[in-house]
Amino acid sequence: MKLLLPFATSLLRAVAMVAAISFVTFLLIRAVPGDAVDVMASQGDLTTAQQAAMRAELGLDGSVVSQFSRWVGQAAQGDLGRSARFGKPVVGMVAQSIPATLGFAGAAFALGLVLALLLAIGALLAPRSPLPALVEAINLWSIAVPSFVAGMAAILVFSLWLGWLPVIGNMVAPIVILGLDIAGQLAKPLLEELREARLAPHVRAARARGIAPLAVALRHVLPKAVPVLLALSSICLASLIGGTMTMEALFGLPGLGSLVLNAVHGRDYPVLQAVIIVLALGVVLINLAAELARRLADPRMRA
């Protein structure tokens, strides 16, 4: 109970956040002059009556508030409307894209996390090796080199000049690039945290008892850094989503990123809105999970 009470407020806040994001998205999209029916009408002949009928079918008639309440009511029943461009149900299009994006982002994050842990623990145990400098370098890289530039460089070198990888639909290069990006963001603050955690009395006692440095690092130092690692991971989430979208666009991979970018350029507002809200929901859910895990991992937060 003690654990769940503060969590309930976070849950409420998360619900409020998703609601706020949905409404703002809805408002902004409706504020755009010219809707999907106008786009279609400009491409072919549609009578005014046909346009009005299409607006009614797409839920584009009436005031913004009535449109929003209707949209929420339908969304609650699992109906996010139909794509203005393809006429297919939006739910199906989004659901089809989620596994690819989730798998891609998950693989990149897992790679980044493993790399960051290896680098940080290595740099902690071998301060005179090149590893601490490598942690610095990879951090700088992740800040300063946009992932699409690294991806483009990989395409130039490995696909065009060496001919090792196919350009389109290749999964290895984008996962590695995004993974390095995540590793760069995690490794440095993780190393700082580990260095600090190593000064704790129980860690010094363990070292004084002659326990091997690696065992001390894994058993006593690393657990202390877990809450920070969880917090860092949720901070990484935003750049993970941006990076996934960029990689999908660059390497021609299917997924939510490609879906939303096509929706922007084709003014397919039902799809755009659904993807933005699904992504926001994902971000909020993952942050909630990270917070719950942090509460479980850090006894001080349970009080």
Binding site: R13, M17, A20, I21, V24, T25, L28, I29, A31, V32, L140, I143, A144, V145, P146, S147, F148, V149, M152, A153, I155, L156, L160, V228, A231, L232, I235, L237, A238, S239, I241, G242, M245, T246, A249, L250, V260, L261, V264, H265, Y269, L272, I276, L279, A280, V283, V284, N287
Partner: protein, 283 residues
């Protein structure tokens, strides 16, 4: 005075990091400098008889798939890339710093609402914000700057809050208030001077990130309008012709990387020197 923090005793040692940062930024500015000194071709002029020319006579960096001079586009894009990024970072500092401070000094409900909004912005990925601004306001420098400003504002607000809390808890502020100094006067005389250093440092850290984000948005087609040669846009345009004209992709890639790497090194130097966040940004 803000000088209290900025002019800490001790000379500026020319560390390798600082030197590398300065050199890289200068390198990225070379095309723009060449254009200023020598004048140049129109970056939009197409020469359909000279498509995808490799670097050589008349075109020091070659031409792209529409026969446009790569060097001219690169130099024209410098101000655009740097300006949009800097505008976004300034807007973030203004939104986060000024609004954050205002909300903090007003307190109560205003403070709660403002920081809830900053929390919301922190959770939203920058790309999503940019999608929204691009959809609502159309493509262009303004919407991109707004998206950058909104997505980086929470960082500045956080620094404002940390400084505000620390200063308000300080004994000398308590003493000043006992002597009858009003809230606004405390803010102006004690909080603002102590905020200046951290804000400048954070700006130096955020600037390269804004430039990176701007280039990503341009690359995704959410940035400045298509005919403007922002570096991210140049990379996107030329990426389809990378096999025939690798130079047209490589030139903006290298310029962008040099600029953001250089600025990041300078920002890191500033952080190490003034270190406003090392403790405070910890979750």
């Amino acid at each position: 005075m803000s000088g209290a923090i900025l002019s800490r005793p001790g000379r500026v040692a020319l560390s390798p990091r600082l030197l590398a940062g300065i050199l890289l930024v200068l390198l990225a500015l070379v095309p723009a400098a060449l254009r200023l000194l020598l004048g140049g071709v129109d970056p939009l002029e197409q020469d359909l008889m000279a498509l995808n020319l490799p670097p050589g006579d008349g075109h020091p960096l070659g031409t792209d798939h529409l026969g446009r001079d790569v060097l001219a586009r690169l130099s024209a894009g410098t101000a655009l890339t740097l300006g949009t990024g800097a505008g976004g970072a300034l807007l973030a500092a203004g939104l986060g710093g000024a609004l954050g401070l205002l909300a903090l000094s007003l307190g109560g409900v205003v403070r709660g609402v403002a920081f809830a909004a900053f929390d919301l912005l922190r959770v939203l990925p920058g790309v999503l914000l940019a999608l929204l601004t691009a959809v609502a306001l159309g493509q262009g420098g303004g919407p991109v700057m707004l998206a950058l400003g909104l997505s980086f504002a929470p960082l500045f607000a956080e620094v404002a809050r940390a400084t505000h809390e620390r200063e308000m808890a300080a004994d000398y502020v308590a003493a000043a208030r006992v002597f009858g100094l009003g809230r606004l006067a405390v803010l102006a005389r004690h909080v603002l001077p102590n905020l200046a250093g951290p804000m400048v440092t954070l700006f130096a850290i955020v600037l390269p990130r804004c430039i990176v984000t701007e280039s990503v948005l341009s690359f995704l087609g959410l940035g400045v309008s298509p005919d403007q040669p922002s570096w991210g846009r140049m990379i996107a345009d030329a990426s389809g012709y990378a096999e025939d004209a690798p130079h047209a992709v490589l030139a903006p890639m290298l310029a962008l990387s040099a600029l953001t790497l250089g600025l990041s090194l300078l920002g890191e130097h500033a952080r190490r020197r003034f270190d406003p966040l090392a403790r405070e940004r910890r979750p």
